[in-house]
C-alpha cells in the first residue's frame, strides 16, 4: 500500500515535471537551444497569474487564459528581442544568453513581486481527498494530472496533425533546407518559443498549489524537468513524458524507503547510468552525422 501510494504521488509530481520538460524538449528539437530561462519564465507567468487573480480581481478561468496568452507573447518576444540579435553567437552563447535572461527574470520577480511566498487562488483544493482503489489522491493532484494529459494531447495534435506542426518538424530536421523550401523559419521559431512558454505557464500554475508561489518556486521542477527530458531523449516528446514520470517515481521511492536527503543525487545517478547504456536517452534518436 505504502509502495503504491509512493508511486501514485510520484506519478502526480512527475506529470508536472513532464509539462516542464515538454517545453524544454519542444524548443531543443526545433532550435537546439537549451533554455535555462524556462523555469523562470514559468515562474514569472505564474506571478502574472497571481496578480491577475488578486490585484486585478479576475476569475480563475479568464485569468488563466490571459496568463497563457501573456506567456505565449512573452516567449515569442524573447525570441525576437533577445535571441534573434545573438544569432551570430555560438550555441553555447545562446544558452548563456538564456541563463542571463533567467537571472534577469528571477531578479525582477523579487523587485516587482517581492520575495515573500504567495498563495495562488486555485479552484481545486488539496484538502479534498479521493479514495481511488484504496489510494488517497487529492483534488489538486488529480486535476493537474488531467490538465497535463490534455495539454500533452493538444501538443501532440499541434505537432503531428497541423501544417504548422509539419513546418516545426521540418525546421527541426534541417532549418536551412526548410528555409529554402519557403517555410518561414523565423516565425516557426517564434511560435515554438511561444508554445514552449505556454507549456511552462501551465506547469507553473499547476505547480503553484504544490510548491506555493515564490521567486525560487521553479528551481527544482526545472532541474527535474530537464533531467526527465535528457533521460527520455532530448528530441523525443513522448520520451520527455516517460522520462519525467520515471524521475518522479524513482525520486519518491528512494525518498520513501531510503532517505529524503539524497533524492536529487539518486535521480541524476540513474540518468548517468541510463546514458552510459543509451547515450541518446531512452527514446532519443541515435546521433548520425555526415563527416
Amino acid at each position: 500500500m505504502y509502495f503504491w501510494q509512493l508511486v501514485v504521488s510520484g506519478l502526480s509530481i512527475g506529470s508536472l515535471y513532464a509539462l516542464v520538460s515538454l517545453g524544454i524538449v519542444l524548443l531543443y528539437r526545433t532550435s537546439r537551444v537549451l533554455n535555462f530561462a524556462h523555469g523562470d519564465m514559468s515562474m514569472i507567468t505564474t506571478m502574472v497569474a497571481y496578480s491577475l487573480l488578486t490585484a486585478a480581481g479576475f476569475a480563475f478561468g479568464p485569468a488563466a487564459v490571459l496568463t497563457l496568452a501573456v506567456a505565449f507573447a512573452a516567449g515569442a518576444a524573447f525570441y525576437f528581442l533577445v535571441l534573434r540579435p545573438v544569432k551570430e553567437a555560438t550555441l553555447l552563447g545562446q544558452i548563456i544568453t538564456t541563463a542571463g535572461f533567467s537571472l534577469v527574470l528571477s531578479g525582477l520577480a523579487v523587485v516587482v513581486w517581492s520575495a515573500d511566498t504567495k498563495v495562488l487562488p486555485f479552484p481545486l483544493s488539496r484538502a479534498v481527498v479521493y479514495n481511488i482503489a484504496g489510494l488517497a489522491v487529492n483534488q489538486v493532484a488529480l486535476g493537474s494530472f488531467l490538465v497535463a494529459v490534455v495539454s500533452v494531447l493538444g501538443l501532440y495534435l499541434l505537432v503531428q496533425r497541423t501544417r504548422f506542426g509539419l513546418a516545426m518538424r521540418a525546421v527541426s530536421q534541417n532549418d536551412v533546407a526548410a528555409r529554402v523550401l519557403g517555410i518561414p523559419v523565423r516565425r516557426v521559431f517564434a511560435v515554438t518559443w511561444g508554445v514552449s512558454a505556454t507549456l511552462g505557464a501551465i506547469a507553473g500554475m499547476l505547480l503553484a498549489p504544490v510548491t506555493l508561489v515564490s521567486p525560487s518556486m521553479m528551481f527544482d521542477p526545472f532541474l527535474k524537468g530537464f533531467a526527465g527530458a535528457v533521460l527520455g531523449g532530448l528530441d523525443s516528446l513522448p520520451g520527455a513524458i516517460v522520462g519525467s514520470l520515471v524521475i518522479g517515481v524513482v525520486e519518491n521511492l528512494f525518498g520513501g524507503y531510503v532517505s529524503t536527503s539524497l533524492r536529487t543525487t539518486v535521480a541524476f545517478v540513474m540518468i548517468i547510468a541510463v546514458l552510459l547504456v543509451r547515450p541518446e536517452g531512452l527514446f532519443g534518436h541515435k546521433f548520425m552525422r555526415r563527416v
Binding site: L34, S102, G107, A115, T265, V291
Partner: protein, 336 residues
Amino acid sequence: MQLIQKYEEEMALVRGWAGWIGVLLLAAGLLAAPWVLKGYQLYIANIIGIKIIVAIGLNLLVGYTGQISLGHVGFVAIGAYAATHFVTAFERSAAFQWVGGPFWVALLVGGAAAAVFGVLVGLPALRLEGPYLSIVTLGFGLAVQQILINWPAVSGGRIGMFVPTPKIGPWWLDSDRGLYFLVWTCVVLGSLVAFNLTRSHVGRAFVALRDSDIAAEVTGVNLRYYKTLAFAVSTFYAGLGGALEAYVVQYLEPTMFNLYESIYYLAMVVVGGLGTIPGSMFGATLLSFLQFGLSGAQEYLPVLYGAVVILVMTVEPLGLYGRWLKIKLWSKTWPL
C-alpha cells in the same frame, strides 16, 4: 603594421614592442596593486584571481575542446575540501617542513584530487555529446554538493569547516597582501601553462576535437587520450581554484558550491570569449566584479548581472575578447 614572417613569430606569446610594453605595464600593475588597493579590495582581487584560474581551466574544456561542463563547481569543491583536509592533517607534522610546509603542496593536492574526479567524469564524455554530457556534469555538481551536505566527516556538515591560516616557508599568509601574492602567482603560472598548452600540439589536438572529432581521429588524434586529458587539465585548474578559495575565504560550507556558481563560471567563459585565455580573464574579472563590487545594488544585482551577460552576447557574440581583437585590429590598421 608588422608582418609575420615565421611560424615562431605567429606562435610567440608576446608580439612586438607594443606587446612587451603591454606585458610590462600589466606586470607593474599587478605588483603595485597590493600597495594601492585597500584590504577588502585586495580580498575581492583575490577572489577575482581565483575565478580567473577556474575560468581558464573551464575554457580549456569548453572553449578549446568543446565539452560542456555544467557542474564545474563540483570540482572546485573537491579541490577546496581535499586541500583543507590535507593541511589540517599535516599542519603540525614534520612531514612537509623540508619543502616549506604543507600549504603549497595542498594546492597541488587539491588540483590533483579534482583531476582524478575529472577523469572519472570524463570517461562517460567519450560516449556522450552536447546536452547529454552537460546533464552528466550537472548531475555530478549537484551530487558533490548533496554528498558533502550529508557526509559531515568530510565537510564538517552544515557547521562548515574553518581553514587554517596558510604558511609557506617562514611566511604567514594571514594578510590580504600575502594571499594576494599566493593567488596571483598561481594566476600567472596558470595562464602561462594554459598559453603554452594551447599553442602546443596538445592545444591543436583539443581544437581539432572540438571542430570535428571524427576528422581529428582520422588524422591521428587519439580521441580517448585527449578528451580525458582535457578533463584532467580543466578540473586540475578548478581544484587549484578551490584550494585557493579555501585559503582566501578561510571557511568552507557545502552551499558555497551550488549550481548557480557553475553557471556563473560558464558565463565568465562565454562572455569573455570561448577559446581564448585572455577572454576568460576579462570575463571572470567583469562578472566577479559585478557580484562582489556592486553588492550595494541590493536586489537589483541579479537583474544587472543578467542584463550585462545578455548585452555582451548581443553586442559582441564572440565575447569580450572578440571586441578586444577588433579594437586591436582597428589600431593596427590606423593610417599612420
